[in-house]
C-alpha cells in the first residue's frame, strides 16, 4: 500500500530558513524564486507528486507554517 | 481575649506573619534580623497553616522567590538587613514593575559596604526613594515599637494587595532586637485560591483556565508609547497612595514653638529628649512619620507657621531631612542631628541641641555625630 501526502504552507509567515528543504527525504519541497510580503523566499511543493506526508518538514519548521495531509492509496 | 507576650521585634514579625495568613517566607540569614527566619523555622508553620518557610541561597534568590510567589497571588514576605536589601533591590524594581504584592522587612544596620552589624537608619534613600532602577516607590512603614513590628505585618499585606505593590517595613537593629510586651494579632486563615480571585481579581499566574485569557506577570513592554502609559498608571497609583495612606503621629504640637521630626527608634529617643527639654521650659513637639512613603509633607507644612525651628533626628548622616526640607521650603531654620556607624542618638544630646537652638546658641561643632543647619 502506498501513501500520498501534501502540505499546506502559510506562505506569508514563512521566513525562508530552508531547514525544511534539507529535511525532506523525497525532495518534494524547495525554496521559491518569489518572495513573500516580508521579502523572504518561501518554501513550496516543487514536486507535489513526490510527497509522502512524512511530516519531517513540519516537525523541523521553527515557525510552524506547514500543515501536513496524508492518504493511503 | 487578646494574647500579650514578651517578644523581640524580629520574633514579633515572624509570629505576625504566621497569624495573618502568610503563604510563604523566603529569606537569607543576615544580622541583625536572622531571628525572623530562625523563629519561623522553629515554629514550622507548614504543619499548621501550610505556610512555606524556605532559606534561600542568597538575598537575590529570596527576592525572586517573592516575585514567583507573589506572581501566583500568594501572600509572601522576606526580611533582610541593609547589605542584603541592596542585593534585593533589582528584584524589588521588577516586583514594582510587574505590580505584585509582597512584604519586605528591612532591619537596618550601618553602612556603607559591610559597615557594621549595629543599628542604623541609613537605608532611607534606598527604600523610600525607590532604590532600584526606574520610577517606582515602595510603600514604607517605619515601626517604633515591637507592637508596631507585629501590627505592621498584617497592615503591610493589606496595603500590598490593595495597591498591588511591594511594601517595606523599615525597622532598625534596635527595634529588631529589643523585647517588649506585644498584643498578638488575631489569627487569620490563609486565603484559598478562590478567595484570592474574589478579593483581588483573577490576574495571577496559577494555570490558565478555559474561562479566561492567559495571565502574564511581567515588567516588560518594548513599545515606548505603552511603556509611558504604564509609567503614568504607576504614578497615578502612587498619587492615590499619597492621598489615602499617609500615617504619622504628632505629640505635644499644640503649643509647640519648636518641632522634632524623627521616625522609628530616633522618634522614641527624641520623645525622651522632648520631655527633658520641656522640663526646661522649651515648648517643643514631635512629629513621627509612620509611613515614609507616602510622606506626611502636609502634616509638617501645617505645623511650620507656629514653629521657630525644626530639628530632624536620624541614625544617618542626613536622609529623611531632605523630605522635611521639602515640607519646610525654607520657611524656618532646619537643623539636623544624626548618628551613624551603630552609634545611637541620646536623649541628652538631642535635648542640648534643642536647648541651644531655643537659646540662639546653636553651633553644630558642639555635638557628636552629624550636625547641620539650613537657615531660612
Amino acid at each position: 500500500m502506498a501513501v500520498r501526502g501534501a502540505i499546506e504552507v502559510e506562505t506569508e509567515l514563512c521566513k525562508g530558513c530552508g531547514v525544511c528543504v534539507v529535511s525532506c527525504p523525497s525532495e518534494t519541497i524547495a525554496m521559491s524564486k518569489q518572495v513573500n510580503g516580508k521579502g523572504y523566499n518561501y518554501m513550496y511543493m516543487a514536486h507535489p507528486e513526490k510527497c509522502t506526508g512524512c511530516v519531517n518538514c513540519a516537525v523541523v519548521c521553527p515557525d510552524t507554517v506547514i500543515t501536513v495531509y496524508r492518504v493511503k492509496i | 481575649m487578646s494574647e500579650k507576650i514578651l517578644l523581640k521585634g524580629n520574633e514579633a514579625i515572624a509570629i505576625a506573619a504566621i497569624r495573618c495568613g502568610c503563604d510563604g517566607y523566603f529569606g537569607y540569614p543576615i544580622t541583625p534580623q536572622s531571628e525572623i527566619l530562625e523563629t519561623l523555622s522553629e515554629m514550622n508553620p507548614e504543619k499548621d497553616t501550610g505556610m512555606i518557610v524556605l532559606q534561600a541561597e542568597s538575598e537575590v534568590a529570596a527576592i525572586n522567590m517573592l516575585y514567583g510567589g507573589a506572581g501566583c497571588g500568594k501572600k509572601v514576605m522576606t526580611s533582610s538587613s541593609s547589605p542584603g536589601i541592596s542585593l534585593m533591590t533589582e528584584g524589588i524594581s521588577y516586583i514594582a514593575g510587574a505590580e505584585l504584592p509582597c512584604v519586605i522587612v528591612d532591619v537596618m544596620r550601618g553602612g556603607p559596604g559591610l559597615g557594621t552589624i549595629q543599628p542604623a537608619q541609613s537605608d532611607y534613600f534606598q527604600i523610600v526613594k525607590g532604590g532600584g532602577h526606574g520610577d517606582y516607590h515602595t510603600i514604607t512603614l517605619a515601626p517604633a515599637s515591637v507592637q508596631e513590628m507585629n501590627d505592621f505585618v498584617n497592615l503591610s499585606f493589606e496595603l500590598a494587595f490593595k495597591y498591588k505593590t511591594p511594601v517595606v517595613i523599615l525597622a532598625d537593629g534596635v527595634i529588631g532586637q529589643m523585647m517588649e510586651k506585644v498584643e498578638l494579632s488575631p489569627i487569620k486563615p490563609r486565603w484559598t485560591d478562590e478567595e484570592i480571585i474574589k478579593l483581588h481579581g483573577d490576574w495571577a499566574s496559577t494555570g490558565k483556565t478555559p474561562n479566561r485569557k492567559r495571565n502574564i506577570v511581567t515588567s516588560l513592554d518594548l513599545d515606548p508609547h505603552r511603556q509611558e502609559l504604564f509609567n503614568k498608571k504607576l504614578q497615578s497609583k502612587y498619587s492615590e497612595i499619597e492621598r489615602n495612606e499617609i500615617r504619622y503621629e504628632s505629640l505635644l504640637c499644640d503649643d509647640a514653638e519648636y518641632l522634632v521630626a524623627a521616625y522609628g527608634l530616633s522618634a522614641r529617643v527624641s520623645q525622651k529628649a522632648m520631655e527633658l527639654a520641656r522640663d526646661e521650659g522649651i515648648k517643643i513637639g514631635l512629629i513621627r512619620p509612620i509611613t515614609l512613603f507616602p510622606y506626611p509633607y502636609e502634616a509638617i507644612e501645617r505645623l511650620v507657621p507656629q514653629m521657630k525651628g525644626i530639628l530632624t533626628v536620624e541614625m544617618s548622616a542626613g536622609q529623611m531631612v531632605e523630605d522635611v526640607s521639602l515640607a519646610v521650603r525654607g520657611a524656618i531654620p532646619l537643623y539636623f542631628h544624626g548618628r551613624t556607624g551603630g552609634m545611637l542618638p541620646s536623649p541628652e544630646d538631642i535635648a542640648s541641641v534643642i536647648k541651644s537652638i531655643a537659646t540662639g546658641n546653636y553651633n553644630p561643632e558642639n555635638f557628636p555625630g552629624h550636625n547641620k543647619v539650613w537657615l531660612k
Binding site: 531547514v19 507535489p48 523541523v60 495531509y69 | 537575590v60 514567583g68 490558565k208 478555559p210 516588560l220
Partner: protein
C-alpha cells in the same frame, strides 16, 4: 490523485498545536527557539495539563515566550527564573512549573539560582537553550562559547587563557542528587526533534511523579549570531558544538 483530494481535514496528520498562539514569533529565520517552543506547546497539549502549567521566561531572545504559548507565564529577571520556579512549586506542589532559559541567563548570570534549585531537587523542569552566544544583545561571548569561536566580544576567537572554557553546565548539574534527569538534545533534524520531544514529555512526567529536577539542554543554533545561513548553522553545530556538547542523556534516574 489531485492535491485537493489529499488536503482535507480528515487527512490531516500534522499541524500547529492549539496552544501555539497566532502571533508571529520574533525569532530570526531558522532559530531553534521556535522549534523548542513548538515542542513545549505540543507536550503540554498532549499531556492535557494547560490548566496546571506555569512557565517562566528569561531575559534574552526568549523573553517574549509568553506571547507564543497559551499558558500562564511569569517573566523573570535575568538568571533568576529558577528562584521563581522554586517558590511557585513550593506554593503549588501539584502544578507543572518550567523555566525556559538561554546560556547567558542560566549559565552566566544565573549560575547561583540554577545550582540551588537543582540541589534542592525542586520538582520543576528546566529548559536550557545553549547556542553558545548572546543572541538578543548582538552576539557576545557566552559561557558556552567554543574555544576559538568568534563573537562580538571575542573578535579574534574565544581564548581559554583570557576567557576560560566552554561551560558544560548539564554535566555539572547532573552530579547533584536533586537532579533526576539531565539530558542534552537538539532540534536540527526531524529525528532529533522527535527525540527531544520525548525528553520534554519525560521531564514533565518527572514533575507529576515528584521525582526531582528535570533538566534538558538544547544544543541550538544562532544563525544570526554565528553569521551563517540556518542550514549552515545546523551543519556547523553538528561538526563543532556536538563534540563539546554531545547529545544524549547525561543522567537518567527516572526509572521509567
Amino acid at each position: 490523485m489531485d492535491i485537493t483530494d489529499i488536503i482535507k481535514p480528515e487527512n490531516k496528520v500534522y499541524g500547529k498545536s492549539r496552544l501555539l498562539l497566532d502571533k508571529v514569533m520574533h525569532f530570526c529565520p531558522g532559530c531553534s527557539h521556535g522549534t523548542i517552543h513548538k515542542i513545549i506547546a505540543e507536550t503540554i497539549d498532549e499531556l492535557d495539563i494547560q490548566e496546571q502549567v506555569i512557565g517562566i521566561s528569561p531575559v534574552g531572545c526568549a523573553v517574549l515566550a509568553y506571547d507564543y504559548i497559551d499558558i500562564d507565564w511569569q517573566e523573570a529577571a535575568h538568571g533568576r527564573a529558577p528562584a521563581l520556579a522554586t517558590a511557585i512549586k513550593r506554593l503549588y506542589p501539584d502544578k507543572y512549573v518550567f523555566t525556559y532559559q538561554g546560556d547567558g541567563d542560566l549559565a552566566s548570570i544565573g549560575t547561583g539560582e540554577i545550582i540551588h534549585t537543582c540541589n534542592r531537587g525542586d520538582n520543576v523542569t528546566i529548559i536550557f537553550v545553549n547556542n553558545a552566544i548572546y543572541g538578543m544583545t548582538g552576539g557576545q561571548m557566552a559561557p558556552t562559547t567554543l574555544e576559538g569561536m568568534k563573537t562580538a566580544t571575542t573578535p579574534k576567537g574565544r581564548s581559554y587563557i583570557s576567557s576560560g572554557f566552554p561551560m558544560k553546565i548539564t554535566e555539572m548539574l547532573a552530579i547533584l542528587p536533586g537532579v533526576v534527569y539531565a539530558t542534552r538534545q537538539s532540534v536540527d533534524t526531524p529525528a532529533a526533534e522527535r527525540k527531544a520531544k520525548k525528553a520534554v514529555i519525560k521531564a514533565f512526567k518527572c514533575q507529576k511523579l515528584k521525582k526531582g529536577t528535570s533538566f534538558i539542554e538544547f544544543v541550538s543554533t544562532c544563525s544570526s549570531g554565528w553569521k551563517m545561513t540556518p542550514t549552515e548553522a545546523n551543519t556547523w553545530m553538528r561538526e563543532n558544538m556536538f563534540p563539546v556538547f554531545p547529545p544524549g542523556d547525561v543522567k537518567d534516574e527516572t526509572g521509567f
